[in-house]
Symmetry: C2
Subunit: 301 residues, 2 copies
Amino acid sequence: MKDNVLGLTVVLADGRVIRTGGRARKSSAGYDLTRLFVGSEGTLGVITEITLRLHLVPEATSAAVCSFAEMKGAVDTAAAVIQAGIPVARVELLDEAMVEAVNHFSGLQHKVAPTLFFEFHGVSERNVVEQAEMAEAAARENGGTGFEWALRAEDRARLWKARHDAYYAALALRPGAKGWTTDVCVPISRLTEAVLAAKADLAASPLKGALVGHVGDGNFHMVYLVDPARPEEVDEAKRLADLLVVRALEVGGTCTGEHGIGMGKMAYLEREHGEAVEVMRDLKHVLDPMNLMNPGKMLRA
Amino acid sequence: MKDNVLGLTVVLADGRVIRTGGRARKSSAGYDLTRLFVGSEGTLGVITEITLRLHLVPEATSAAVCSFAEMKGAVDTAAAVIQAGIPVARVELLDEAMVEAVNHFSGLQHKVAPTLFFEFHGVSERNVVEQAEMAEAAARENGGTGFEWALRAEDRARLWKARHDAYYAALALRPGAKGWTTDVCVPISRLTEAVLAAKADLAASPLKGALVGHVGDGNFHMVYLVDPARPEEVDEAKRLADLLVVRALEVGGTCTGEHGIGMGKMAYLEREHGEAVEVMRDLKHVLDPMNLMNPGKMLRA
């Protein structure tokens, strides 16, 4: 998303109002303040306007779903599709627990197995059919079965429904439970081992949970189902989330691909970026010396 | 290019060595220091290591060339191709002066007219042929003639030779002259008027010059041929370059898409970004209080 932000209007702690970036697709005019404020979690200023880069609705779109006996086959397929240069628009992974959850929650009949959801965009039907066929070949090489693809909007919506219902379906796995969610992002080349480790940790835990991944980016999310009234469950979720991040950092990944640091991941930010966090603190201090902007988030004062 | 920079090692003015970013494709962990240092022109620190995102050599590539009676038709074609969502890998514009220059310099026989050079990448030959055909249709609608495309590497190289020889060919237009080069970038929707204005300014000037554009980004370059020993010529080049930037800013563009600010565009940086330049200065001061890093560039002390 951040790549689609061309410019911002930001109100700074001292009341100055600045405009960053602009409408041009690229610029080398000065420091990239737009990217400094995007993702700063409100700690550097209040963003009051955003200039976004727009994209056309593609000429043609196809969607596909494929399940795998082994999680490894699913992740390897996603990596193979990316590495083959197939311009996949979206590729999402649901683990078997999440698939079972959406089957119950949304009355679907997906095979209960690790499942990939694809979307392809192209200049023609022929082009997106070709992409789906190439993905199918990659899936088959990695043990994929029941590959199903569709062109028509309503068929694509049916194929993708499972993915769109995932979060609430996961909550329904344990009525009354709250979802403890977290995410990491790792290099694609290390995605398989990171996902398999996260699954093994969960399998060895008394907690229920599920995995959903934007695997085209090496980014995946875990949701652990906890009863907030039971501190031991919250502690177990924290332990699993900590293992997840530690493993991601070990393979050159990041402690969060999308969720951000907030309060929960401040220690990981320092572990991931070391002395660079001091530089972040320097920037925070110069732009917000009185620590008025979302204090206590991202950076320890 | 900057979108392919995943991480950096930077030596700061106070001797600290930091690592920014990482190997994951996306991260929300802290401020985006990588993008702060990329394009900072050495004013914030010395970059000693870069982690780049690699891209595959595409499965298939096609190239195309097409000339236009009117500059407007060429620019409108480039915009139409982008806006049609054709995933053009490169689209470059040469004006008639530049085409004449490369014909002389490289012994080519291109029609002396505004000319577009395309490159398309895709998952199959069929796919890149399809893209070339769609571009040809767009070109024809905008008065393009002599559309020629190729798949084989040597044929593509032949088609693109004119573009690759452009700069030295332009210098050869006036033996002994130096090239005064500058660039701007404007929103695609305003590219035609910006290019036409730049051409009209040049036509009304005693100086020779030529235009080459990365028009897919709304970015284009002017080269003015001056005898450095004649101050009035240097002044005229400056006047033309100033007009170019002023017009770019008027249509919501930037004073430089690629070249950067350096010393020559410091005044434009302030015109383009206003108070935001004060914030850039704040960042410079906190990271380099003694102004040791490329002093006198980009920001007035």
